[in-house]
């Protein structure tokens, strides 16, 4: 199975989807070889033998029994496939009791995560293994998607609605999340991770206030902390440090440079400008770029903003 699908199924649910996939593949394969086989066999066997004269061909115009059979048999086959597809799907849609809930709000181009206890995160969802998780999905601006390929499920994220999806992750690991509903320029950069931790590690992580064991201690240098926050907060989905520009301006060399703004003015990128652009990005929009960055006022405490600014200053 793993060889066929390249991903291992990450849950029992996903295993059942794979079994359905294989069932359809086997039935489809049978009909593939039957129809293509006959097509090619007839085409070769009944090719015209003499260059200038047709073979004797019979005037067969049909056969009611054959017509009946090849309406009946496909009808039965499709009903069987429909039935299994529906059953596996129905099981997917009924959430198991006692599921951990995680709220996910998508916006261009990031996922904002909120846990019931008030913790927040961006583009990274952490859950304990062995317990069902229910995602409550919504979107802030346009349609987005929430696709967990390893779990064989996805659900659209719709402004003004809450859609749900649940999975039961069996094994610890890091699983990809893709946005699957086209949402604009940064669509293909809108990536996130579902990190499934062993229950023990998860407990520890929660006790640390949502930080890994040794990271984020009191003595962590500001620059190191800033770099970590920059990559965790989804900044790099839109801002490249090196190379080709993504949606927003590149970050290297930004500090101290002269930045042209929409409306004709320009500003020198000092500490205050960098801070303001994180917590109130709509205030000074760089010329030639869309005004799409969300505010980090609520999701990034002032200490973290300071750390990010200090890190940006090192990118010369």
């Amino acid at each position: 199975m793993d060889n066929v699908l390249a991903f291992g199924a990450a849950s029992g649910q996903a295993g059942r989807v794979d079994a359905l996939f294989v069932m359809i593949a086997v039935i489809g394969g049978f009909f593939f070889f039957l129809t293509q086989g006959l097509l090619i066999y007839f085409a070769v066997k009944y090719r015209r033998r003499l260059p200038d004269r047709d073979n004797e061909t019979p005037a067969i115009t049909g056969n009611p029994l054959l017509e009946f059979l090849w309406i009946l048999i496909p009808s039965i086959v499709v009903v069987v496939i429909f039935y299994y597809g529906w059953r596996v799907y129905t099981d997917q849609r009924i959430p198991a009791a006692g599921a951990t809930e995680v709220h996910v709000t998508a916006r261009q181009w990031m996922y904002e995560i909120r846990y019931p206890d008030g913790r927040t995160a961006i583009n990274e969802i952490r859950v304990p293994a062995g317990k069902p998780v229910k995602f409550l999905l919504s979107a802030a601006d346009v349609l987005h998607g929430f696709y967990l390929p390893d779990f064989r499920v996805k659900m659209d994220m719709i402004p003004g609605r809450v859609t749900t999806l649940w999975v039961q992750p069996d094994r610890p690991g890091s699983y990809q999340i893709f946005c699957t509903v086209y949402c604009g320029t940064g669509h293909s950069n809108m990536l996130a991770k579902l990190i499934v931790m062993s229950p023990h590690e998860y407990e520890e992580w929660v006790e640390h206030g949502g930080r890994e064991g040794d990271e984020g201690g009191e003595h962590e240098p500001l620059v190191v902390r800033g770099e970590r926050i920059l990559s965790n907060a989804g900044c790099l989905n839109c801002h490249a440090v090196e190379g080709k520009e993504k949606i927003g301006p590149n970050l290297r060399g930004l500090h101290g440079s002269k930045v042209p703004l929409e409306g004709g003015k320009s500003v020198t990128a000092d500490e205050e400008y960098l801070r303001e652009s994180i917590v109130d990005p709509g205030e000074k929009v760089v010329k030639g770029y869309p005004n799409v960055m969300p505010t980090y006022k609520a999701s990034m405490p002032p200490d973290d903003v300071r750390a990010v600014v200090e890190y940006l200053k090192t990118l010369k």
Binding site: P58, V142, I158
Partner: protein
């Protein structure tokens, strides 16, 4: 114009092409000339849409943005989709080959409303001009126009949708014209069960065009009202619903895939018997299955929206209906295959393309159940699996059917024969290139690569490179084919009236046909598939 050609015997001069000058084209009421104008126009857009496809494949050679920005990539896939769908694949066979051959097939001198027919073309032309005009702020919403993105986008969404609105109007007028033509202008003795199957396909298609197209027109009006006047039909902050747009859109856009495929199936049903020297197997099954597909196609639009938050019950009903639309399609494939049995088969280019249609359509058809079944749909929806499935049915199906038709009727339309050897080289390149390009996408989809991604994870790199190589081979094949068409037009050997020894009525007209099509309206005494030796 009166009487020109009527008194002349076949094969002298250039028939309907004899008049010269742009006015003879722009104001023509001849269905053949209007059909030819559609064919030229749609073929040009096919090539432009193909160039966009090649640019997409070029960018996807590397996982990171290399040649174009993400925004440019998004514009390219939008234009590729919009042009291929609205300016090529919907009008090419119905308005192009349909216009040319419906009257010839049923033994009429023209369509029922020649002036309306000319108007349809010019409304179509206005549509594509508006669409070209929208390129000043090229749209990046995807050809599906999903709200709220399309409602908020600063690009020329309103202009592009106006263009498609006009194209839709042209499509409705053409459909109406064909329905009346097929009902009222059949030659004496041309009963419904003596109609060529191409006509059954076109008839079913016309019904869909007339019923479904107004819905997409209304949808675009609502979208325009939202963008211009701020009415919140689809805006949740004003009490609207973005998913409503998807329902409206797919209520048109699903039936319209049958507008694309049914005429192509009609062409295949014409070509297979001629080159097998056998009567079509199961005439009534093929004819009625077209109508069944056309009607059933209206009840399955929800299968594009299984992950949009519809209720599980609605999803289940749409899934079941979807599977039942598959049955009449399978019936056609079985009947075509049975037609080959004990035939005397030759493999000229039209037959090669018709057999390729069946071959690729079986792949497209058998990958359908993965998407029709709910649980696997939830896995594969919006991945490259869907892209592959769609291209196997639409390019492997409709485009191959279209090419079969072009090669089959080229002698009739132009009065010249094509170079058969060059046609085979082109076919081989297209066949290989197509499969390398698109089969790879099934694998990408199963491995989880989402569609419409300008950049992708490095683990998908190999398949993308293979697919791009395939697209280059495919493009080479298309170029060789175009060159062959142009050479054939300029210096192909003169075509006899009936080079394929076919029995349908168009081959009784001269090659190219006279303006009046037939010297006398033919009297029809039998069906057009009387090949083979009757028993006893």
């Amino acid at each position: 114009m009166e009487g020109v050609g009527r008194m002349e015997a076949e094969g002298n001069g250039r028939g309907y092409l004899s008049e010269r000058g742009w006015k003879s084209w722009a104001f023509t009421l001849d269905h053949k000339r209007i059909g030819a104008m559609y064919l030229w126009t749609t073929t040009v857009f096919f090539l432009i849409g193909g160039v966009f496809a090649l640019l997409l494949r070029l960018e996807l050679l590397s996982p990171q943005a290399r040649y174009f920005s993400n925004h440019t990539y998004n514009v390219f896939f939008t234009l590729h989709g919009a042009m291929m769908i609205f300016l090529f694949i919907i009008p090419a066979i119905p308005s192009g080959l349909g216009n040319f051959f419906i009257p010839l097939h049923i033994g009429a001198r023209d369509v029922a409303f020649p002036r309306l027919n000319l108007a349809s073309y010019w409304v179509f032309a206005a549509g594509f001009l508006v669409i070209i005009g929208s390129l000043v702020a090229p749209m990046d919403t995807g050809w599906t126009f999903y709200t709220p993105y399309s409602a908020k986008s600063a690009a020329a969404v309103t202009t592009l949708s106006l263009g498609i609105f006009l194209i839709g109007m042209s499509s409705i007028l053409t459909g109406l014209n064909f329905i009346v033509t097929i009902h009222k202008l059949r030659a004496p003795g041309m009963t419904w069960h003596r109609l060529p199957l191409f006509i059954w396909g076109m008839y079913s298609t016309s019904i869909i065009q007339v019923i479904a197209t107004p819905v997409v027109g209304v949808t675009f009006l609502l979208l325009a009202a939202e963008r211009i006047f701020g009415v919140g039909f689809f805006d949740p902050t004003k009490g609207g619903d973005p998913v409503l747009f998807q329902h409206f859109f797919w209520f048109y856009s699903h039936p319209v895939v049958y507008v694309m495929i049914l005429p192509a199936m009609g062409i295949v049903s014409e070509v297979i018997p001629v080159f097998s020297r056998k009567p079509i197997f199961g005439y009534k099954a093929i004819a009625y299955s077209s109508v069944a597909i056309a009607l059933g196609g209206f009840l399955v639009w929800g299968h594009h929206m299984f992950t949009s938050g519809m209720s599980p019950l609605a999803n289940a009903i749409f899934s079941l209906m979807t599977f039942f639309v598959a049955v009449p399609t399978a019936v056609k494939v079985f009947n075509w295959t049975a037609t080959l049995y004990r035939g005397s088969i030759t493999f000229e280019a039209p037959m090669l393309y018709a057999l390729t249609f069946i071959f690729l359509f079986i792949v497209g058809g058998l990958t359908g159940p993965f998407l029709g079944a709910l649980a696997t749909n939830v896995q594969l929806h919006d991945t490259y699996f869907v892209v592959a499935h769609f291209h196997y049915t639409m390019m492997g199906g409709t485009v191959m059917g279209f090419l079969a038709g072009l090669h089959y009727w080229f002698p009739k339309m132009t009065g010249r024969m094509l170079n058969e050897k060059v046609a085979r080289v082109a076919w081989a390149l297209i066949f290989v290139g197509f499969n390398v390009t698109f089969f790879t996408m099934f694998i990408l989809g199963v491995r989880g690569m989402p569609r419409r991604y300008a950049e992708y994870l490095p683990k998908f790199h190999t398949e993308n490179v293979i697919s791009t190589i395939g697209s280059a081979v495919l493009a080479a094949g298309i170029l060789v084919m175009c060159w062959n068409f142009l050479q054939g037009l300029r210096k192909g050997a003169p075509a006899p009236a009936n080079p394929w020894r076919a029995l349908s009525l168009e081959w009784r007209a001269a090659s190219p046909p006279e303006t009046e099509n037939f010297p006398e309206i033919p009297l029809v005494t039998e069906w057009p598939y009387g090949y083979g030796t009757p028993k006893g």
